[in-house]
Amino acid sequence: MEESRRSFLKIAGIAAFGLSAIPAIDIFASESSKKAPAPAPDFSLTENSKALSAKRWGMVIDTRKFKSEKDLEHIMSVCHSIHNVPNMTNKRHEIKWIWSEEYPHAFVGDENEYLSEKLAHTPIIVLCNHCQNPPCVRACPTQATFKRQSDGIVMMDMHRCIGCRFCIAACPYGARSFNFRDPRPFISKTNLEYPTRMKGVVEKCTFCVERLAIGKIPACVEASNGAIIFGDLENPDSEIRKLLKNNFTIRRKQHLGTGPSVYYIV
């Protein structure tokens, strides 16, 4: 924030002084922008007026509504194809943003010896929990992964990531993947409107920030036929809060104090 403002001011400053001054100004730009009264910026940065916003985005996954593995597969493939998530042939290099786990793996520590027939057979869909108190953000040495103050989404800045994988060690949900090699040959059909990634950076689910920004709900929610509900956890009138009020829900590894924003009805 601080930085982008400064470089914008620099550009604005240069514009004001005209071309001839460029080389000289360039050298003193950072100096002068501190001392001289900053010229009013002749530009503005805004969100799209259609953008969806919330104090804290959250999700309720109603596992009762999933009939079979097939329902889940559809959701996963939608997410992975629009985000150019590669389909790695080597399992070690696997990259996934949203995937399914057997109940005892999704809810490690809360597995019961005798599970209901349904839970024993339908896998649980899992993704980044966009924790309220994210350990990955605490661990990252460059703020490449950070929690957006505006809506609580745990974001990844792939431009800044140095690939140290500290966040992967810190995440108790296995939500993060690392690009062990160039992922592009493994993307069957590239969505040209979304970037791909380079080797050596970490990636994960972003709650579809690029869709929220233009007024669309996350792709998995859209593809779930009402089994996944998305909304503002801080708004007591939101649909998601009503669901939470009327249903017993659980969260993954609650006891770790990470405060997951993804709730499950089982």
């Binding site: 924030m1 514009a15 530009f43 940065l45 590239t190």
Partner: protein
């Protein structure tokens, strides 16, 4: 060890060594000096010609587009602000593939010409694929 003798030993060898070092280390400068390559002329698409002006005046775009993109990137990824309104009140989507390359849909004749001339290889395009609407 203290040495009060100010004489430089092997003076000639040292001077020759320095000269050889300078010749080699300054290679890129003298080599290019005698190789007169005309500055490239990036080609504008029809769409760009009609629009006349880019986000900032042309001269600024020429020298500062990388800083601009850098701050756009931070604004979009980190602050969630994706629209840029310039001094003329024109609004732009801060997106390299969907914004910049939508107008400059001729990366080869626009971006690459200068980048090749200046011998810079920005890796932006590795992830942000050339204009999605461009026909290949």
């Amino acid at each position: 060890m203290p040495n009060n003798n100010n004489k430089i030993y092997d003076k000639n060898k040292i001077v020759i060594g320095i000269v050889i070092f300078l010749i080699i280390s300054l290679f890129p400068i003298w080599y290019n000096h005698f190789k007169n390559v005309p500055a490239p002329d990036p080609l504008l698409t029809e769409k760009a010609k009609i629009a006349k002006e880019c986000v900032l005046p042309k001269v600024l775009m020429k020298t500062e587009h990388m800083q601009l993109l850098n701050s756009w990137r931070d604004s979009v990824v980190r602050d969630g602000k994706r629209l840029y309104t310039n001094s003329q009140g024109k609004v732009f989507d801060m997106s390299l593939s969907n914004g910049c390359l939508d107008c400059h849909s001729n990366k080869k004749d626009f971006c690459d010409r200068c980048h090749n001339y200046a011998s810079v290889r920005p890796y932006c395009f590795d992830c942000h694929i050339d204009n999605p609407k461009e026909k290949k």
